[in-house]
Amino acid sequence: MNGEVGRPISRLLADVDGARCERKGDRRVRIDATPENLPAVLELLKGRAGYLHLSAITCIDWMDDGEFELIYHLWSYEDRNLVSAHIRIPREPGVYLSVYDLFEPAGFFERDIHEMYGVFFEGSPDQEKFILTEWNGPPPMRKDFDAEGWVQGTFQWEDYRPEWLQEIEEKGGGIAIKPEQARANTRKIRGWKQ
């Protein structure tokens, strides 16, 4: 059954403009959809192919492209297959439609994404803060929020003065490389781009 799954999905999506599907593994199918046709794709998958379980919605911040990528991971208990539908929406204003009426779990995932990325989902039942109720800063998962920088600016670190260190400092030694200097992501390698 599994080997055949890819084909029916592509047949299913034949009617939807601009949706491409690609088999990625034994039980993994990737669909590239557009913000316009995603609701239709999900509805088709749920209604006609038995993809009842919304496993997760993942949001990715492509800051350099000015886009958010939303990935809807759907699982079919019948086909035993997982479909990941990808769309990209503009980073500004970062608004998309809720799929809560199709998949109730979407409510939580959308709330989470709203909290962490600031993407607003129209029609989602509850977009109140859940985790970050005491947080005043920007949505922290956005790539332009420098968490480490914020921490360094907000908190102070323990300034240890153990005896052995004082002794070494008397001899002219001391802390040569602080841990923060050696950290992989603060290493200054020109042209390095992740």
């Binding site: 970050l132 800063g137 922290p140 968490a147 480490e148 921490v151 908190f155 670190w157 323990e158 003065r161």
Partner: protein, 234 residues
């Protein structure tokens, strides 16, 4: 940190009073109620420590569900900013003498979440801490060793960190305000309590308590009335 040496209890002149103090400390050290609040991941080692295998109860330590009856606040690992507020509320509600134990790396210098935007880094900026237990997380045996260390400190009359919270309230409040914003307030009147306990010191009030008093909303008595359905129908 060394600027604030632990206050050693003033020698009382009356030898009877000294004996009494020692007796009190001896008793305190043998009956410690630990607040049952799992602030972080280190809490997973508390059930083994509390139950049959490592059996904290043989030291007279018991979990207690309300802060009002608890002696020990066990901070089990990282405290997120959200939790820290509750921890401070809880701490202030606990009756004196009270002791704080910081478990795991995270309470000392941020631990493995040192770059996290969501956790507080140094517990002793916000609360006076009596005993630290190293580990990530410490094993139940280490936790028990820490508690025994605390017992020793209490017996020796050195575990007086709670007095520092009153004497240097302004300093602790400063760190709290720095993290939570100027609006931060708790329902407990620390300055009043400090006066009451005769622990009012030069550091009790300061710039930060002034700010607190500006923002503080006085508490009003809560009226809760249960009416019958009469009003609803009317």
């Amino acid at each position: 940190m060394n600027d604030f040496p632990l206050p050693v209890r003033a020698e009382r002149s009356n030898p009877l009073a000294r004996v009494f103090d020692e007796l009190i400390d001896f008793c305190r050290a043998r009956s410690m109620f630990m607040l049952h609040y799992c602030t972080g991941c280190g809490a997973i080692e508390l059930p083994p420590a509390m139950t049959s295998r490592f059996d904290m109860e043989r030291l007279g330590i018991q979990p207690m569900v309300t802060p009002r009856q608890a002696d020990i606040l066990l901070i089990t690992g990282y405290v997120s900013i959200k939790t820290l507020k509750r921890v401070i509320l809880t701490y202030e509600q606990m009756g004196s003498p009270k002791y704080v134990i910081g478990i795991c790396s995270c309470t000392v210098n941020g631990g493995m979440y040192w770059q996290s935007y969501a956790t507080a880094k140094k517990l002793n900026e916000y609360l006076p801490v009596d005993v630290y237990i190293a580990g990530c997380m410490p094993r139940p045996e280490a936790v028990i060793e820490g508690l025994r260390k605390l017992m020793g400190e209490i017996k020796a009359g050195r575990a007086n960190s709670w007095e520092r919270y009153f004497r240097e309230y302004d300093r602790y409040l400063a760190a709290q305000q720095n993290l939570f914003g100027p609006n931060w307030q708790t329902p407990t009147d620390i300055i009043g309590e400090a006066r009451d306990y005769q622990l009012y010191g030069p550091g009790t009030e300061g710039r930060h308590t002034e700010l607190l008093q500006q923002h503080q909303v006085p508490l009003q008595p809560l009226r809760m009335t249960l009416h019958s359905d009469v009003e609803k129908s009317s």
